[in-house]
């Protein structure tokens, strides 16, 4: 509480009352609905998942004796390790592809669109106007055995037989996810680029840099916070995605979330599913921290 507040108050009120009148208390009241919501819908389920992951499934009952056996299985079974590794690789490739494709678009809007910037940003959001499922099915139509792409390639005589590596594998998952998440990557990169003081670019040019060198030495480093934000926004949710691999991934494209779903469902082993979920979360959290650390290095400046 600030000194001014304390001075304005009459002789020592009781502790509770002081707490209720203070700015901090007003702030708490203001955020309490959101806080409650977060507590009930985020913290509570997470705690439950964490608890279950240390229990054992005993047919229809849960044996509540503490055990780390689920984690031992989650981290040692080759199948789970394969799925986890594949999830990270697919997600990593999706992140890289998305950011690489989003950067030029963000750059173009930030530096080369003079008028109607808002219109361009608006156009970028158009894919969100249809449901995600519809967009996934559209990719099936495009990439399928008799799909648009194969028909076109056959028609042009570029291939003799339809290409089969397009759909029902990891490639299809990457293509679909990269398209779906592009807007989320474009916006933070655009914001970072738009924020760059134009006189910094002129200073670089003035000091002898051509356009390419200037990009490497000034534009790219100064836009890194946006790039890292974009990478996080794409990477974190895609590791745990199960709709896309389920629909276009075939068997080679299945990811860890599909296995978690199986454990909670058909396999009737919620504790193992929970252990897999918590493990995946821990790995994602660790990787995110590395990203955040990188971000701090770029924004701190100097040294």
């Amino acid at each position: 509480m600030s000194r001014a507040d304390a001075g304005a108050m009459p002789a020592r009120p009781s502790g509770i009352r002081r707490l209720l009148r203070g700015e901090a208390a007003q702030g708490l009241v203001l955020v309490s609905p959101t806080f409650l919501y977060a507590l009930l819908l985020l913290a509570a389920p997470l705690t439950l998942v964490l608890l279950i992951s240390f229990w054992t499934q005993d047919y229809l009952e849960l044996d509540r004796t503490f055990t780390t056996a689920n984690y031992a299985e989650a981290w040692s079974d080759p199948l789970y390790r394969l799925l986890m590794g594949r999830s990270l690789v697919i997600s990593g490739v999706v992140t890289l592809t998305t950011v690489l494709l989003a950067y030029p678009i963000a750059y173009f809007v930030a530096f080369h669109v003079e008028r109607n910037k808002a219109l361009w940003i608006f156009l970028i959001t158009i894919p969100f106007w249809t449901s995600y499922l519809l967009r996934v099915f559209l990719w099936k139509v495009i990439l399928g055995y008799n799909g648009v792409l194969n028909s076109a390639l056959l028609g042009l005589g570029l291939v003799d037989q339809p290409l089969t590596f397009l759909l029902y594998n990891a490639n299809a998952v990457v293509i679909t996810l990269a398209h779906a998440w592009a807007p989320f990557a474009i916006l933070p990169i655009y914001v970072a680029l738009a924020k760059i003081d134009r006189s910094l670019l002129e200073a670089a040019e003035d000091l002898g840099d051509g356009p390419l060198r200037r990009f490497w030495r000034v534009t790219l480093p100064l836009s890194m916070p946006g790039v890292i934000a974009a990478a996080l926004i794409v990477f974190i949710p895609t590791v745990g995605d199960y709709v896309t691999p389920r629909l276009v991934g075939g068997t080679d494209g299945l990811m860890i979330a599909n296995m978690i779903q199986v454990q909670f469902g058909k396999a009737n082993n919620a504790p193992l599913g929970a252990a897999l979920a918590v493990s995946a979360m821990a790995i994602v959290a660790a990787i995110s921290l590395v990203f955040l650390w990188l971000n701090r290095r770029f924004t701190r400046g100097g040294g």
């Binding site: 006189s199 910094l200 400046g301």
Partner: protein, 368 residues
């Protein structure tokens, strides 16, 4: 009166330079030469085209028409990174992701001088701007004055033929600004590089420059030494932009023995030589200007001046060392300002006091 002819060799030549942004003409045909080793200022109110001209010289924009040559080489189509110019930006444009030494070394990287030579030059440049030992500081940990010095060191370390300064002192407080004016002047003499300064502060331009181009509406109104600009402004705009000037309505009544005969409202008839009409003259109605310090109050009956006129004090502003009087003179509505040094024993008059004003014909400037 100083010799106003530019000395030495022309380093930058401007030939009828024009710049249009869409349909707005920012520069309407500017010509002139900037000499090697000279401290040159572009002075004018905002929107007069001075920054536009600086950016054309730097190569950030291309002129719509006309030509710029630096060191005899035409600059058309030469991008900023290949010109022998470096700029100190108004915002300083310090790279926020680099420390002080990396900022200063930015342009040296391309020259591949080697680690030791680069470090030596960076330290030398930082020493020149009194920032020796600041190399490891982060860019965001600098004060405004320090950022300005880093920007200066970063440009000077390149040893450019021309250093361009875009209102470099406008963001500093008054005291720091005055200190930097003197330091910039000293630095320019020490390194011998041609400086081109853009400023809207007439005092700054007078203090620092060898020559000044006063610009209005995309044109150079007058290009001369500070002394000439102050003593012989060519027109009313220049006269009122630089220093304080009293304006009197006047009429040209004739010409004899090489002198222009005038009848000045409030002061009476006077004859002046043509040098005191630097902007030429119109036949009929015109204006003359007299600086406040060229008018003298005559305090005792024994004091005499070449010309005398009686008036009344309307307002007196006391500055300690000086007193500024506004005087009502017969036959003119506009009060005339007179500045008097407060020497020992000299009284300070009050509003309503009668006053006798003396002046000499050499103080009269006929304005175009």
């Amino acid at each position: 009166m100083t010799d106003d002819r530019p000395r030495g060799r022309a380093l930058i030549e401007l030939d009828r330079v024009e710049k249009r942004f869409d349909e707005v003409a920012a520069l309407k045909g500017v010509s002139g030469s900037i000499m090697e080793g000279e401290f040159f200022s572009l002075l004018g109110p905002s929107g007069c085209g001075k920054t536009t001209l600086l950016r054309l010289i730097a190569g950030f924009d291309e002129p719509t028409r006309g030509a710029i040559a630096i060191d005899g080489k035409p600059m058309a189509g030469v991008p900023a990174n290949l010109r022998p110019t470096n700029m100190v930006f108004q915002s300083y444009a310090i790279f926020p992701h680099l420390d002080v030494a990396q900022n200063v070394a930015y342009g040296l990287r391309r020259l591949r001088l080697g680690r030791e030579e680069t470090a030596r030059r960076v330290e030398e440049a930082l020493g020149m701007v009194d920032l020796a030992g600041y190399g490891k500081r982060a860019a965001h940990a600098l004060s405004g004055g320090q950022r300005q010095r880093v920007a200066l060191a970063r440009a000077l370390v390149m040893r450019p033929r021309v250093l361009l300064l875009d209102e470099p002192l406008s963001a500093l407080d008054k005291k720091l600004r005055e200190q930097m004016q003197v330091e910039l002047r000293r630095l320019q003499r020490a390194v011998g590089i041609t400086f081109i300064l853009v400023t809207h502060d007439q005092e700054e331009a007078l203090i620092m420059s060898d020559r000044i181009a006063v610009m209005f509406d995309g044109e150079i109104a007058q290009l001369a030494s500070p002394e000439t600009l102050y003593r012989r402004p060519v027109d009313r705009r220049v006269a009122s932009f630089i220093g304080v000037m009293n304006f009197f309505d006047a009429r040209v009544t004739g010409e004899s023995a090489g002198l222009i005969e005038l009848d000045v409202a409030g002061l009476g008839p006077v004859a002046i030589p043509p040098e005191q009409a630097p902007g030429g003259r119109n036949a009929a109605g015109t204006t003359v200007g007299i600086r406040p310090e060229m008018l003298t109050l005559l305090f005792s009956d024994t004091e005499r001046a070449e010309h005398e006129v009686s008036g009344e004090v309307v307002d007196a502003v006391y500055y300690g060392d000086m007193t500024y009087y506004d005087l009502k003179l017969p036959g003119t509505e506009r009060p005339a300002t007179v500045s008097m040094r407060n020497t020992a024993g000299r009284p300070v008059l009050r509003p309503g006091d009668p006053a006798r004003v003396g002046w000499g014909r050499e103080s009269v400037i006929l304005l175009a």
